[in-house]
């Protein structure tokens, strides 16, 4: 204690210097507290903003789907679905022919000979194709009516709004000039509905024609192809069943039933289509984006978890001083690479490389190889793994490093090998820390935008999981990618704009959840250690 301190021992007043009645401690406290408040306020603002912009989405979307029903487009789409099934049937038939053509070419037949062989059943194919035209033409016609009605209705609504705006501004003369049509959608719907008998007649003709044709399937003379032809017959019968179902749906359909909020919600959450700027009907189903994000992130984790955790274990438990000083900064350096550079590398080098490798003869055992796409979920996933590794590595290494050294010593002193010590003591003790590192790595990956936008292939479709591992090599689109891609070109306040905000909300909730889980796990871990 200083001399002055000795002298003033019993003067207990604060001797700290003050400025505006605040001493240094209080000022520092204020500074740090202020920082915390700023972060909390910013988080609250973001949440509020997302909610505000996103919440109106469902109302708008509900109205939109409702209009889809009232204008009869929904009705037409039921018919259209049947037409599309028929096109698919035709594609199957055509694939038999092209397979046959390839076969003949490989046998070395001349073009003329091959043609002659194919022509034996080409008539059949054309006949089947022709059978479908009346129905699909009819559907097209009806579609034009319904979409036209919807567009007129929307135009009228826009004009009405315009006129009201003018009136509000007191520009009555201009307002009077705006003509607003009264569009009665029910008239159009009635018109379409009245055509139902025509459609049924066309369908009957189609069914009769189809039955007649498949009763007498042509034979090709190649066993495998003939089997396929038989299969075609089965598919055609299935299509006939579908026709009946379509007719049932059409007769049950009514434009009177209003679309509920739940339908809009379900259409967003479970919807399998994300279709925008369509002249017919837009759909905002998050499923293809969500599954795409999940697929890419899962692929990334498949690579990043073993590599990141493995490297962390190695560096902390097995590496010598020199290796440590080399490996640690090197891995952490990866996170310094801008994501756009990684994406660029993915497009320019890696995607091409993967496609080439997939063409190697030794891999021909996999039926999904070689792949035709350069940019796939796999390409993006591998590059994202690169970005997740530093996160996982650093956090997992921290967790492992937090295991008291005494555990390691005790284990080794019992005659355990280093490997046994690592697997039985170090990893189990730091497991929750490692898991939370993995979770945070996952959060990092699912929120990453640039790489997926550049490298995932951007095809908006739910990946076909029936392909097994082949699923990995399909192009996908992601939640982050779609926002980055489309937000720049949407009209402020439109459904599309709001839909993108909802996607942002979903991402935000996922991230929050992951962070929350990671924290919870770490907390549990500290308690169990304490």
């Amino acid at each position: 204690m200083t001399e002055e301190g000795e002298n003033n021992r019993y003067d207990l007043h604060s001797r700290r210097r003050q400025f505006l009645g605040i001493d240094k401690d209080q000022a520092l406290k204020g500074l740090f507290g202020g920082n915390a408040i700023v972060s909390i306020v910013v988080l609250a603002l973001i949440t509020f903003f997302l909610f505000k912009e996103g919440a109106a989405f469902f109302g708008q979307y509900r109205e939109n789907i409702d209009l889809y029903r009232r204008s009869g487009i929904e009705y037409v789409d039921i018919m259209k679905e049947q037409s599309e099934s028929y096109s698919e049937l035709n594609r199957y038939l055509n694939s038999i022919r092209s397979e046959h053509a390839t076969m003949l070419r490989e046998e070395g037949l001349s073009f003329a000979d091959a043609r002659a062989k194919l022509s034996g059943y080409e008539d059949f194919i054309y006949a089947i194709e022709d059978l479908g035209y009346p129905v699909s033409e009819y559907v097209l016609e009806m579609s034009e009516v319904a979409v036209g009605a919807r567009d007129m209705y929307e135009d009228a609504a826009n004009y009405r709004e315009h006129r009201e705006n003018l009136l509000e501004l007191g520009r009555d003369e201009e307002a009077a000039e705006v003509e607003v049509l009264d569009v009665d959608l029910s008239l159009f719907v009635d018109m379409i509905k009245e055509g139902e008998a025509d459609f049924l007649a066309l369908n009957d003709a189609l069914e009769a024609g189809l039955r007649e044709r498949i009763a007498d399937l042509p034979t090709i003379g190649v066993e495998s192809l003939d089997a396929k032809m038989q299969r075609f017959g089965e598919l055609a019968l299935m299509f006939i069943v579908e026709m009946e179902r379509t007719e049932q749906l059409l007769s049950d359909w009514t434009s009177e039933k209003r679309v509920g909020m739940f339908t809009a919600l379900a259409s967003f959450v479970f919807g399998e289509d994300w279709v925008t700027n369509s002249s017919i009907q837009d759909w905002y189903g998050i499923m293809p984006l969500f599954t795409g994000s999940l697929l890419v992130a899962s692929i990334a984790m498949v690579f990043a978890v073993p590599l990141g955790v493995g490297a962390a274990i190695y560096v902390n438990q097995f590496a010598n001083q020199k290796e440590q000083t080399l490996i640690k900064p090197y891995i952490e350096f990866i996170s310094a690479i801008p994501s756009v550079v990684i994406g660029f590398f993915g497009i320019a080098v890696f995607g091409q490389f993967v496609r080439e490798v997939s063409g190697w003869a030794i891999l021909s055992g996999f039926d999904f190889f070689p792949i035709s796409e350069r940019l796939t979920a796999f390409t993006a996933g591998c590059l994202l793994a690169l970005m997740a590794i530093p996160t996982i590595f650093t956090l997992a290494e921290d967790a492992i490093n937090n295991v008291p050294k005494s555990f390691k010593e005790a284990s080794l002193a019992m005659g355990a090998t280093r490997l046994q010590t690592t697997l039985r003591i170090i990893v189990p003790t730091s497991l929750s820390g490692i898991i939370s590192a993995i979770l945070l790595g996952f959060g990092r990956v699912i929120g990453e935008t640039m790489v997926v936008l550049l490298c995932a292939g951007n095809r908006i479709e739910i990946p076909d999981f029936t392909n097994g591992i082949g699923t990995f090599f399909e192009p996908v689109h992601t939640m982050t990618g779609i926002i980055a891609q489309e937000l720049g070109e949407v009209v402020n306040g439109s459904i599309h704009y709001r839909a993108l905000f909802m996607v942002g909300m979903v991402l935000f909730v996922i991230s929050l959840f992951i962070n929350y889980m990671a924290q919870k796990i770490v907390l549990k871990y500290q308690v169990s250690r304490g």
Binding site: P404, A410, S411, A413, M414, A416, T417, Q420, S528
Partner: protein, 279 residues
């Protein structure tokens, strides 16, 4: 396995059965022999020319002021110092049961099974009491329930902990009190059936009651084990040990029967330390 470790293993197990059978009478044979031993941490020499013997079924206490190298020597006996990257031996050797433990052919894993260690700060694993005790068996691949159960009971009894924890073997080892944790660590060390137990200030974090229990335990373990204990507590050294070695600045100053060291030390530094005039 190398010839040498085989030698180590064979002789010690023979000796164990011998010592189990009857309490040896008369002077026992030296089990640990340190000769002309110099030890370095990098450039810094921590041990100078140590020569000493620790006999079978005796308790040897290491005393001396902080930083004099007690722990260092102790950790050399089961080669825990191998973990320190800069550690190296300058000269001399350490023999356990007549085998040079720093021979390159020696397997440290085998050595450490023979030479158990209890640390200053109790360090049970974050596992159940049961799993803590049988850890040494698990890593040897022994998973037979009857063997494990028997070992747990025997070792916990051996460590005077059985009565206190028999009803809660599946609770975490870390939920025990400090003294109980330290006895659990001793039980854990006993489970691999070592011949030698090295204890580095095992009671320094314990209250007098717990300390008394551990000391009692050391007394009873003496019949079956050769024990080396580092302590800063002179009374403790006097109470539990047969021999005492006094270290100062990395040198072994004096070693002899505990009574003689405490009653009539030959060296004045020893006397000064024991009587509390420095350190």
């Amino acid at each position: 396995m190398s010839l040498l470790t085989h030698n180590l293993t064979a002789k010690t197990s023979q000796q164990t059965t011998q010592s189990m059978a009857s309490k040896p009478s008369g002077p026992s044979r030296p089990l640990i022999r340190v000769s002309d031993f110099d030890f370095f941490y990098g450039e810094k020499q921590a041990l100078f020319d140590i020569n000493m013997e620790m006999r079978e079924n005796e308790v040897t206490a290491f005393i001396g002021p902080s930083g004099c190298g007690k722990s260092t020597l102790l950790r050399c006996i089961n080669r825990m110092n191998d973990l320190v990257e800069v550690a190296r031996i300058g000269r001399g050797k350490i023999e356990v049961n007549d085998a040079d433990i720093y021979d390159p052919r020696v397997d440290t894993i085998e050595l450490r099974k023979r030479v158990g260690m209890v640390f200053q700060k109790s360090n049970p694993f974050p596992k159940s009491i049961y799993e803590n005790v049988i850890y040494g068996l698990r890593i040897q691949g022994i998973n037979k329930k009857s063997v494990l159960d028997e070992t747990v009971e025997r070792c916990l009894k051996g460590a005077a902990l059985w009565e206190e924890v028999r009803d809660r073997l599946d609770t975490s080892g870390m939920s025990l009190s400090g003294g109980q944790q330290q006895r659990l660590c001793i039980a854990r060390a006993l489970a691999v059936e070592p011949d030698i137990l090295l204890m580095d200030e095992p009671c320094s974090a314990l209250d007098p009651v717990a300390t008394a229990k551990v000391e009692e335990l050391i007394h009873s373990l003496k019949d079956h084990y050769t024990i080396v204990i580092v302590t800063h507590n002179m009374q403790q050294a006097a109470r539990v040990s047969d021999k005492t070695a006094f270290f100062y600045l990395g040198k072994l100053i004096e070693m002899g029967k505990t009574d003689e060291i405490f009653m009539s030390p030959k060296n004045e530094q020893t006397e000064a330390y024991i009587s509390g005039r420095f350190g």
